[in-house]
């Protein structure tokens, strides 16, 4: 357990020292969301209608931006070899990487999402549901992403292939996530959508580390 925490701690420390992962995905997220009002015009009704979808799609894309580095950095400097032959099972190793990725690249997006929601004229209920849905749904983005990252580790320019592998698998999260916010805006009950999101997340929690570990073994052999 202490090894698990050490590994997560190391990745978080590295992310903040290098700074690029956190600021990159965060500024990408903000810029995408800010571009939309410029593109579709400043009508408040239109913005409120497309707001939930815009925020979710922007979150998916920003998450994707840092995904390819999840194992790549460790692969390039030889750390991945040492981690794989170390005492932690590969599945647990993947889980540690996923947690570090979520904390450094996705959590900052969730923190800033309410402010961006306001700028898209989302009502208070919608913003609350959005934050909750992001918190429940986004761990899946890192978990599913880990599978793609594991399969493309060691590939030059694997990032594009990674997007093609992973984005289709993000569709359920997008659908349930947007549905939750829409329901909240329409004053309907949000809970079923959140349950569905939670279900997908739990499923990914089981499948993700297993599949990513198998992918890593495949890529490294």
């Amino acid at each position: 357990m202490s090894r698990f925490i050490q590994l997560v701690g190391r990745d978080i420390r590295l992310a903040f020292r290098q700074g690029s992962a956190v600021t990159l995905s965060l500024s990408f997220f903000v810029i995408i969301v800010v571009l939309f009002p410029l593109g579709v015009g400043p009508e408040l009704a239109v913005l409120a209608r497309i707001g939930p979808g815009v925020l979710w799609v922007a979150a998916l894309l920003s998450c994707l931006l840092t995904l390819d580095r999840m194992f790549q950095a460790d692969f390039e400097d030889g750390s991945l070899d040492l981690l794989i032959i170390g005492p932690l099972p590969t599945e647990i190793l993947v889980l540690a990487k996923v947690i570090a990725h979520w904390l450094t690249s996705v959590l900052p997006l969730i923190v800033i999402a309410p402010i961006l929601g306001l700028s898209l004229n989302l009502p208070g209920d919608g913003i609350f549901a959005l934050t909750l849905a992001l918190l429940i749904g986004t761990p899946t983005l890192s978990l599913i992403g880990a599978m793609g990252a594991a399969l493309t580790v060691g590939m030059r320019r694997g990032g594009v292939l990674l997007s093609l592998l992973v984005l289709p698998l993000y569709i359920p999260i997008l659908i349930f996530g947007v549905a939750a916010v829409d329901a909240a805006i329409a004053q309907l009950t949000v809970v079923p959508h959140l349950f569905l999101l939670g279900g997908v997340s739990l499923g990914a929690l089981v499948v993700g580390p297993l599949a990513a570990a198998a992918g890593l073994r495949l890529s490294l052999s």
Binding site: S2, R3, Q6, L7, R10, R13, L14, R17, Q18, E76, D77, G78, S79, D81, L82, L83, I84, I85, G86, P87, L88, L220, S221
Partner: protein
């Protein structure tokens, strides 16, 4: 305490690199793997470090297959490869401490001292020269004890002083009942070392 390799064969990209490589390593022994470029030195070491599965043959640690029943083998060896496994944004001390405690116990201060790294302890490894990076990596070996050292080119980028120093550490390790399996192109006078020449076994 023994490591036994039997009839190992390695295949990369549908080409047989070596076959029928067998050796036994017991406590206090070292094996120097020699061979021309591409003879499969690194591949052999990676097989012994469980990073590559052999095409044929098997390897045992304490009588147990290292690929099927590896629980007893994990944590008993250090693998040091071509890549330095150092994070450039972290200091020498942080890097050594992370790997040592990930491996098990950490005796970082002693390890840094053994390779004369105290003055560099708080320097980010991104600022180090190749030789200094190598020493940081070597200090990993002593920061947490392991019976078997698998070393791929441990001497590259080291100057004469540190080669001597490394030899002392290696001999101390063997005296304490450790084992070593290493490949290097540099000449190193070392008694008690067996030589495994991959050119002779190659077909």
């Amino acid at each position: 305490m023994s490591f036994i390799a039997q009839n190992l064969a390695c295949q990369r990209a549908n080409q047989l690199i070596f076959e029928d490589v067998s050796f036994t390593l017991s406590a206090g022994e070292a094996i120097w793997v020699k061979g021309r470029n591409g003879a499969g030195k690194s591949s052999l070491l990676r097989i012994c470090g469980r990073l590559l599965t052999p095409f044929r043959g098997h390897a045992e640690w304490q009588g147990k297959d290292i690929f099927k029943d590896y629980d007893g083998y994990v944590g008993q060896y250090h693998y040091l490869g071509h890549l330095d496994a150092l994070k450039h944004a972290m200091t020498v001390r942080e890097n050594v401490r992370f790997w040592a405690s990930f491996h098990g116990t950490a005796n970082v201060a002693m390890a840094l001292e053994k390779f004369e790294l105290q003055a560099l302890a708080d320097t980010p490894t991104g600022m180090l020269s190749q030789g200094q990076k190598k020493r940081t990596n070597l200090s990993r070996l002593v920061a947490s004890p392991a019976k078997l050292w698998i070393l791929d080119e441990p001497l590259s980028a080291l100057d004469r002083h540190y080669i001597t120093l490394f030899k002392e550490r290696l001999l101390r390790h063997l005296d304490d009942g450790g084992m070593a399996l290493f490949a290097t192109h540099q000449d190193m006078e070392l008694d008690r070392v067996k030589i495994l020449d991959l050119d002779e076994t190659a077909s």
